[in-house]
Subunit: 336 residues, 2 copies
């Protein structure tokens, strides 16, 4: 039986596998293509938590897969995350990523968009080279498609200046945009690599966990430690993101505050007065909307874990299942 690798060992092994699938600037045939290689390696080399990859690896180990089978799939999932972030940062007009300027702020939109497409292809290359089963490939098709659907909802709402959204709308969007690829897909992929059929309950548990994770992200965007969070604090307000915190505030604000907030949210980023953004930021916290979202997130994480724990205790290799639970428990207390 495979020894129990530590989270740091798993992260490092995934990172090694990921980087080995990317072109190297040293071997490029001309300076422009060396730049191309540097662009592809930029976000991956910035690190990142590799939470999704680690979740996949431990789940797969729990269900009997070998580490060597799991690493390329985990690395491909992290590659997905990297190209999706490059494109998201363009779509959202974000300035920062993992504590540095977003890729399109360094190289411009056209080259960054193109680098994201190349990484997308290399994600598939990693999977195909590893000879993964068809079910793994189909799971990747599904996760990319769902994420794009969720991304479409979020952008369409921002561009359509939609503020008449319910909590159910938000949860549907976040389920597609984040929860599926963050938690459902890693759990399912782990079992698929092991040659098993993912339990039906993985989907429901993963949706809860992934949604809780995203709400924590929304909360950290408002009150995180900038050094740890790696993105602009309050960036969601500047970008006009429809978060659970914001929707709860709007629903419970008096007509005057609600109008003031809506006026601000409908302005394009460069026209938003900093003082108004600071006012809304302050009110989201002082009104209790942020604390409400924290409670909702904790509830989702608890529910998801409650459903997952018994399943993982029945997994063929229980020690690894316990590691999955540990990893997921960390989601509530995370600072980045």
């Amino acid at each position: 039986m495979t020894a129990l690798p530590s989270a740091a060992e798993v992260r490092q092994a995934i990172q090694g596998c990921l980087l080995s699938a990317l072109p190297r600037p040293e071997t490029a045939s001309r300076p422009e293509l060396a730049q191309f290689a540097r662009m592809l390696r930029d976000y991956p080399e910035r690190g990142g938590k590799m939470l999704r990859g680690a979740l996949l690896v431990y789940t797969g180990l729990a269900y009997g897969a070998a580490l060597e089978q799991l690493l390329p799939v985990a690395a491909a999932l992290e590659l997905f995350q990297n190209w999706a972030l490059i494109h998201d940062d363009i779509e959202d007009g974000s300035d920062e990523r993992r504590g540095k300027p977003a890729l399109h702020r360094i190289y411009g939109v056209p080259l960054a968009l193109n680098a994201g497409d190349a990484l997308h292809a290399l994600q598939w290359g990693l999977l195909v080279q590893a000879g993964v089963p068809q079910g793994v490939l189909l799971e990747f098709v599904r996760l990319v498609e769902r994420t794009a659907q969720g991304q479409h909802l979020e952008i369409a709402w921002m561009e359509g200046q939609r503020l008449d959204l319910t909590e159910a709308d938000y949860l549907e969007m976040v389920g597609l945009k984040a929860a599926y690829y963050t938690a459902v897909a890693p759990l399912r992929l782990g079992v698929l690599v092991a040659g098993g059929e993912p339990p039906q309950a993985f989907e429901e548990a993963g949706m809860k966990l992934g949604t809780g994770f995203q709400i924590v992200d929304d909360v950290l965007n408002l009150k995180g430690d900038p050094a740890k969070y790696g993105k602009e604090i309050g960036g969601d307000l500047w970008e006009g993101k429809r978060t659970l915190v914001l929707l709860h505030f709007l629903r419970n604000a008096g007509p005057e505050e609600r109008q003031r907030a809506e006026r601000l949210l409908c302005l394009p980023r460069p026209q938003k007065p900093a003082a108004e953004v600071a006012w809304l930021h302050h009110r989201l916290i002082s009104s209790g909307a942020l604390a409400y979202a924290e409670r909702v997130a904790e509830g989702f994480l608890e529910e998801g874990l409650g459903r997952l724990r018994p399943l993982l205790q029945e997994a063929p290799r229980r020690a690894f299942g316990a590691r999955v639970v540990e990893l997921l428990e960390g989601l509530v207390r995370r600072e980045a």
Copy 2:
């Protein structure tokens, strides 16, 4: 033996397979996702020549594959073309595609970029669902990666205001950006679907043919019939594309004309005076640069065909091989 389907029948069958792989607005769960589905179907429903798909199908038939095996791979290649065009149009700031506004001109950059990503995933979905051999998937990884490298070269040259480029630079860029996926990949994929090993000479012949095809495209951009060409005539000049026509003109112009052209090419699109663009457009034709490029293109197409003809005459099903040659001969005389 499969009957000899006409080019129109093949095109229609590829189109049918392609569209059946895309989501339908009628079955979307909410209006925003119906819009998402409409966006994915937009470029594919505009039609297009399906030249690459047809080339793949006839090559595969010549080497013994069945039409049903070839259609999903041809449809995936056309899907590649569609998402790549959506992203290219954003990268180049293009206004039109297939006679209509570019997708990002209708829906904005964020939603169009995201729709391209979803189509990219569905391209892989089509291939995986069809259960194609690993070699076919690896060929797709290669063609996307090469195209992205070529795209990087072209954009880096435009953004870096590079005008000190040789004909060899241009040919390397076009080989990566266009020739590989336009001709090499369809030829190779046809044989790979048939379970064979593509002849080494396919790569060399395909590079010649694909390069000739792209030069004809550059020429049509300057003197095509707008109704047939489907893109803005002279658009390459507004976008500052480094074409063979342009490089030949610059190399042979007197110092005054060269300076005047370079000044124009270094201006961003909105600052380019229309009269200066019209002057350069006129001079590219009257100086003989356009005729030069036409001769180069014909030479490439002839050489490529010369190398390909004997190979296809040895193919297991020669009648289909003749159809491949016919299709490729049409490339020289095409108007769109």
